[in-house]
Symmetry: C2
Subunit: 401 residues, 2 copies
């Protein structure tokens, strides 16, 4: 039923995982903490079904699983009556007008796969937009909860400016910079996504109950945790990896030297995303963390145009078109960068492309094969060049409006 409704909304047939796997994954989000890489590894070695059946006592424990850890999860599973709770959770998200998006669904943002074994088991989503499409052109704006007037002003201005340029503003719905960034995007009637460290119906902080409600209506509210679940300290930290992985880059607006925003920014760098910082007065402790970041991996940005130019593809140098999504827009950020590094005339080897795209050679090699299979590039010995069709597309993009 939910699926039927969803298909109607999308107006097309979408690829989705089976109802059984969705229920199994929903059940897992109830017992497994976000970002648990051990369980992530188990899920590669066995099936989610087998794991949940074993947790429910219906099957033996899969091989290669540490007994102690498994027993801990089983205890949690017994307490909540796993299968019934999963059915309840799926009903609850449907009642909220939402859905539970899993790897394998068309709506799954494939860039999250870069988190490897730390990839979310699934994402609980509220809001009518397609998460995958929105996340393709998204930027995270994060920063201090106790920000200054300056930080709030800059975050709101940046949120609005990015939204105006067709970027989705992703943040964590916290007080301070997060809230200002979401509000800026909403005010510009743009796309914005809140990634929560609690269930999508658990408004935290309380003072942002109205904001989170508005985000669910006009934007998207996303969480790894099932409906009703509450945030914890570690959940905030682990939530940050989803923000970093979902977006093409992260901008930090005000942050003290030891702060969660810097964790998000560093995760972004590790994941090969762009890391940016909005400078402020050196005399402000709330800019000290940003400046520290800027002395390392991050790039100075002072407005939305600079962010857009940096994280965008070549077309973003020109005024942005809000046209239909092209095949090229569906590429993940790393693949996009590799593709953009391929020269318009002639070709280059993987080593040079890796250097030009700023990606590891091994990653580049993998992305090149992916791009080849999608028909973007072709290979002549060691040299990669644009496939003829793609060259035409690239040409038209470069010559944009």
């Amino acid at each position: 039923m939910r699926t039927a409704r969803r298909r109607a909304r999308e107006g097309q047939n979408m690829r989705e995982v089976g109802e059984e796997e969705r229920k199994v994954r929903a059940a897992l989000t109830r017992v497994v903490e976000p970002g648990d890489e051990t369980v992530g590894r188990w899920l590669r070695q066995t099936t989610p079904e087998h794991l949940v059946q074993a947790l429910a006592g219906e099957r033996d424990m899969p091989t290669g699983v540490s007994k102690e850890k498994f027993e801990g999860l089983r205890l949690r599973a017994t307490r909540v009556d796993l299968w019934n709770k999963a059915a309840e959770d799926l009903a609850a998200i449907a009642d909220l007008g939402g859905r539970f998006v899993c790897p394998g669904d068309d709506e799954w943002p494939r860039q999250l796969d870069d988190l490897a074994d730390g990839r979310p088991i699934g994402l609980w989503v509220r809001g009518s937009a397609n998460l995958r499409m929105w996340a393709l052109r998204s930027v995270a704006v994060v920063g201090a909860r106790a920000c200054t007037e300056y930080g709030a002003h800059m975050a709101a201005t940046l949120g609005a400016g990015l939204a105006d340029r067709g970027w989705t503003v992703v943040s964590g719905a916290a007080y301070g910079v997060d809230g200002a960034a979401h509000r800026g995007a909403l005010a510009a009637e743009g796309a914005t996504v809140a990634v929560l460290a609690s269930g999508v119906d658990f408004a935290y902080p309380r003072g942002h109950t109205d904001l989170i409600q508005r985000l669910a209506e006009q934007g998207l509210v996303v969480a790894e945790l099932p409906p009703g679940d509450h945030p914890t300290r570690s959940r905030f930290i682990l939530r940050n990896r989803v923000i970093a992985a979902l977006t093409r880059g992260t901008v930090v607006v005000e942050a003290e030297v030891r702060s969660g925003s810097l964790v998000t920014a560093r995760r972004a760098t590790e994941l090969g995303r762009f890391t940016m910082g909005m400078p402020g007065p050196v005399t402000s402790g709330l800019s000290a963390g940003v400046h520290q970041l800027l002395r390392g991996e991050a790039v100075v940005v002072t407005n939305a145009a600079e962010v857009s130019e940096l994280v965008g593809s070549i077309g973003d140098l020109a005024p942005v078109q809000r046209g239909p999504v092209s095949a090229r827009d569906l590429l993940d950020p790393v693949a996009s960068r590799v593709l953009e590094a391929v020269p318009a005339r002639g070709g280059a080897d993987a080593r040079r492309l890796a250097r030009d795209a700023g990606t590891a050679e091994e990653v580049t090699q993998g992305k090149l094969f992916e791009l080849q299979s999608l028909g973007f590039v072709q290979r002549c010995g060691d040299v990669w060049e644009l496939a003829r069709r793609s060259a035409a597309v690239a040409g038209s993009r470069r010559g944009g409006p």
Copy 2:
């Protein structure tokens, strides 16, 4: 007589150019504008003596000299009665307790030779310190004349902090950032050098008459123009190249997007010096130029420790020693960086050293030969390694307190 006094001051015999050449060069500073690269080229093709004798009408024009330009200079020379004026200027600088330092003098800062044909013909200097020794460990702090309270505060704090760390603070004695940087260094009883766009006895701006007097007493006041000469718009711009070339790096504290400070910073980059910027509020037009620079070649710095760590040698990572100057300290910044790139064990080829030192391969090659002649490095085929004596020095520096 001047020379005798100077030798007494230095307490040692110093290498100096002959009195005749000094007078000739002094005469040239009266008729040639600072940074005139055509005259710089002439001086490579002929001798300063020949050029001045020709300007005084005592000899034919040297070959390879454009007649039109030469006649222009000759007209200026006739007006001032060149030889007498040069004698007067040298007497005037002596009366000011100063001297006219020429290429070939021991006090000549050899890093100015990086300006090639734009190298100053000589420098008029007031103050008792040795310009060359002070400039070895110097940083330029420049910025807006009409700076904000924030800019003035940061410049003064930076000037004091650099002085505390044994760095000489070089600036242009202008209102705003320049003055604050000098004052900060003076307040810390540190070394500071003002490079003027006028004669060293021509206080500009008028409001800085007392400051420039104090700089001449406690620091150094330096100019390419002879005593009494006044500043012009182009002289300010050309003065900036001396500030950039004299120092190991330039820090810009507040600058609008089109400003002289950015010219200095870009010259510093071109000359292979470090370029740094002190960030500020994005909402301030006086930080916009700095942020623009930070999005390009410049590095974010927020305090003197960061500047010192960046432009200093490895020893500056540890608390700075104010010990006697070692042979290594006498190297120019580029040679120092090349030397520091040579690994403590084994060796590396010029290409790798160029990459590690961040210098052009051709420059690196030249510096390696220079370092070889000074006994710092030795060569085995294509591989350069530390000379045994130097390895011991490097080791002791790395292990320093």
